[in-house]
Symmetry: C2
Subunit: 208 residues, 2 copies
């Protein structure tokens, strides 16, 4: 990569402290619960109690759902709460995306046990989730963005868990309010899943 192709961060960078550190620990719990083999009911009841106590504590001083939504969507820039890249969302792997000067975007991610479909492989719907989001971010990077109208996914080979996946996307064309965007997930240089999307240039109002 030359200096003129230095990538631009397009997703929120985890702070490794505060809420982001707690979410990273929650991700570790989700994965550990899946890795856990046979445990006694008593032992798991203790784990349930500990997790319920954490949730209880967080819920106690939380704002209402409406207040929280307004707060979440205030300000500009990248979201910190989405289920693909969000450092505040324990469901997100999280995927980290960068914009390149040629107009495309890319990211790398390793998926764990929580994203499994067929044995040892990513769930086809998880690949769809990653690609839908990445195509949306590619639209933001290109300038015209919107909501998914149609998304077509082609599964070429199984997408492996536990190894680095390379995800790329680019906006192909804009025709009035219709935006066409493509992308793919590859592993070891081979395409696993490709996506072709039509997005409509409209946005839902933000909560106030």
């Amino acid at each position: 990569m030359t200096d003129t192709q230095r990538p631009t961060e397009l997703t929120a960078t985890p702070n490794n402290e505060g809420i982001d550190a707690a979410v990273a620990a929650a991700r570790r719990v989700v994965e550990a619960l899946l890795h856990t083999g046979d445990r006694s009911v008593v032992e798991m009841a203790q784990v349930a109690n500990q997790l319920d106590a954490v949730a209880e504590h967080l819920e106690q001083h939380a704002p209402t759902r409406e207040e929280r939504l307004v707060d979440m969507w205030s300000g500009e820039g990248v979201t910190r709460h989405d289920p693909v890249t969000g450092p505040q969302n324990a469901i997100a792997p999280p995927l980290h995306l960068s914009g390149l000067e040629d107009g495309s975007i890319e990211g790398r991610v390793v998926l764990g046990m929580a994203y499994q479909g067929p044995p040892g492989c990513a769930h086809g719907g998880i690949s769809a989730l990653l690609l839908d989001h990445t195509l949306g971010v590619a639209n933001h990077w290109a300038g015209d963005s919107g909501m998914t109208g149609t998304l077509t996914l082609r599964y070429h080979r199984p997408t492996p868990l536990f190894e680095e996946l390379h995800i790329t996307a680019r906006q192909e064309s804009v025709d009035g309010r219709k935006i066409r965007t493509t992308g793919e997930i590859s592993a070891g240089g081979e395409v696993c899943v490709s996506a072709d999307g039509i997005f409509i240039n409209k946005h839902l109002p933000r909560p106030r």
Copy 2:
């Protein structure tokens, strides 16, 4: 629903004890972390420590990844670990699916903050994840199943969070190894997302 259309459970039923109770508590933590507003860095560091301690405890006596995969995929019947219906996977909402005698399947689910895309609405990729999985289960219910080849999603209107979604799917045809399956997500009687999939009748070997 008449007696001749009594639904058949097609997904694992949570036990509400043992690992399932711990996973339900982990889901509550994931959601509470997203609902949490401004908290001090010190307070969130405490939460991170508590969650890390739970993960540490679970990891200590866990089998190796290879052993765990063999164990996960032993036996027959529904999976307990997938990211859509799995009672052992905190990423799963979880969706619960039933088979009807007319050959179709259906389920109901309410999605929380963790599944958000546009403000107050489900992420388009989350709808894709739910539909890909539901189409796969519809194939199992019909008898011929396989891996996703092509999946086309059409987004008709935003899919709301915090209210009941109705998800349906059915196998339309089988032509050699090619299976065609459709499904949709609706809310309040209106279709939000529809899916049309081509599945290929092949299965990856289970880990041994």
